[in-house]
Amino acid sequence: MGARARLLLLLPSTTYRAAAFVEAARRLDVDLTVASDHRSVFAAQQPERLVTLDFGSLGRAAEQAAAFAARHPVAAVCGVDDDTVILAAAIAEELGLPHNPLEATVAARDKHRQRVLLGAAGVPVPAFDLHRLDEDPAAVSRSAAYPCVLKPLCLSASRGVMRADSPAEFVAAHRVLAEILGEAEVARRGEESQRYLVESFVAGPEVALEGLLDRGRLEVLALFDKPDPLDGPLFEETIYVTPSRLSAAAQQSLAACAERAALAVGLEYGPVHVELRHNAEGPWLIELGARPIGGRCSQVLRFGRGPAAMSLEEILLRHALGLPVPTYEREPEAAGVMMLPVPGAGVLRAVRGVEAARSVAGVEDVVITAHPGQTLVPLPRGAQYPGFIFARGGTPAAVEASLRRAHACLAFDLAGERSN
């Protein structure tokens, strides 16, 4: 009897994704090794199941993983976010496992490099310019075309992203951006934290495409509409609903754009999460990530039917391990998730109305991830959602309505609340 396959799963200690990936690995009955940036308290007792890698150093982490794999052969390496997919590519390259080219994952993580590659390949992207934080904002504001969007290179989930419609708004937004990029946990990213993009604002509805690449071919797993307009001045993500209500032709053009974008960046293998807009001119590529959807949003996706239905994580792990994927077809029901907007700045004391929100027809779950005593920080400075609402229904419209009704039931009790 052959040895069981071992999966090396790279989990940053601050991920929301641990439970979903660990559960998927358990369902597949593989030997799971969790590698993280923080040493587990059981690392000494379970050295083949829990390892610590230097997530801050690609070379060092790859060496550590290779040393581990020499003792415990690894069949696949999976990252779960923008940073760990780069690490996964470096480790897989070292171990001779299927992987994205390392430079492609690095390019996907670098918002500027990504746009350069996309533009050169003819993928429609907003016009963009790269600037340094220490340039005179007034001078930059005079050269910008409006409306524009200021976008830091090193942050995610809309943090620090602001629209400006005039030079005065530009300078004000720049001041806030400089404060955010000056925060200690951001500034330690070094040069990356000192640069930002100025991008033209592209009007039109935004969607998120969840896909899986295999030798450069894109399998679309889900296309989410974002029914709340993302017109600025901040770009807070709230509701995702799938299937999309856009026309079939629009959906096809968005998928084709996403596939071209992945190829332009050099991605060939594994998950992609793509943000796009669609207007009269066609699709526009806004962001491309060589990773699955973030937060707890994947909970809303199910593939196949009945007890054999698979999570997104199970599909990704099956693909990585070279196991058969019985279906890529999402369940027939419409489904949606709402990332709860941060209601204000302050220390969370309690969330009221959770039970009422759960009882709304169509709502499957309300998860409050913020804990009492946690400081909530809204956009553009914040980096954490306080929770998620999940719903399913017969139509996307019904799902969206359920999410909005449930959200209306919730009340956040904050101490020391102040405007941001």
Binding site: F42, Q46, A157
Partner: protein, 197 residues
């Protein structure tokens, strides 16, 4: 009975859901793995009457229910809530205490698991400000509750599945399974908090 009884459903995944009831259902903990085992416990009997329910674990005011039906928890949860309210309204104890005769093997297991928790597990996770409490062992299944830095921690599942569960299976191989009955949403000081990514 108490008309203000509050029931909060916390789905863990498609098969497992935790229900936190605002009043105690049982002094202690008990696991029911079949409708036969549920006989004599009115609420357990009612819960096994719900399509797809395969296991019920009660600990104080917390119920952890396992089902194998494809119905979403939104549907099954309503039936569970109705069953809880109906039984509480009768005024009869919803669960009978675990029969002493059935617990000889479990008692021995309980002692070995408790020793392991005390000697190795808790000293280890105390380094991250956490602890794990052994609630009960029934039919070889360990019911535990995590607290302190583990409660609500983003890496709690890794600690549980890659650390605690593995140690249990190695050191006490008779353990048939683990049920985590922690209310992670109530954790106030998790060791690590998840961020947006």
């Amino acid at each position: 009975m108490d008309r203000d009884t509050k029931i909060t459903a916390e789905p863990i995944d498609g098969s497992h859901c935790r229900f936190v009831v605002s009043e105690a259902l049982l002094d202690g903990a008990r696991r029911f793995s079949s409708s036969d085992a549920a006989k004599g416990s009115p609420l357990a009997e009612a819960l096994f009457g719900i399509s797809g329910v395969t296991e019920v674990v009660v600990s104080g005011g917390t119920l952890t229910i396992t089902k194998d039906s494809p119905a979403p928890w939104q549907v099954t949860g309503r039936e569970v809530g109705a069953a809880i309210r109906k039984i509480l309204a009768t005024g009869v104890p919803p669960f009978a205490a675990a029969p002493a005769s059935a617990s000889a093997g479990d008692e021995a297991l309980y002692g070995r698991v408790a020793d392991l928790f005390e000697a190795e597990i808790n000293p280890a996770i105390a380094r991250h400000g956490g602890f794990v409490e052994l609630v009960d062992v029934q039919d070889g299944v360990v019911m535990l509750r995590m607290g302190g830095g583990c409660q609500g921690c983003g890496m709690a599942d890794v600690t549980l599945r890659q650390g605690i569960e593995v140690a249990l299976r190695e050191r006490v191989p008779e353990v048939a399974g683990i049920v985590d009955i922690t209310d992670h949403s109530a954790g106030t000081n998790p060791y690590v908090t998840a961020s947006k990514k």
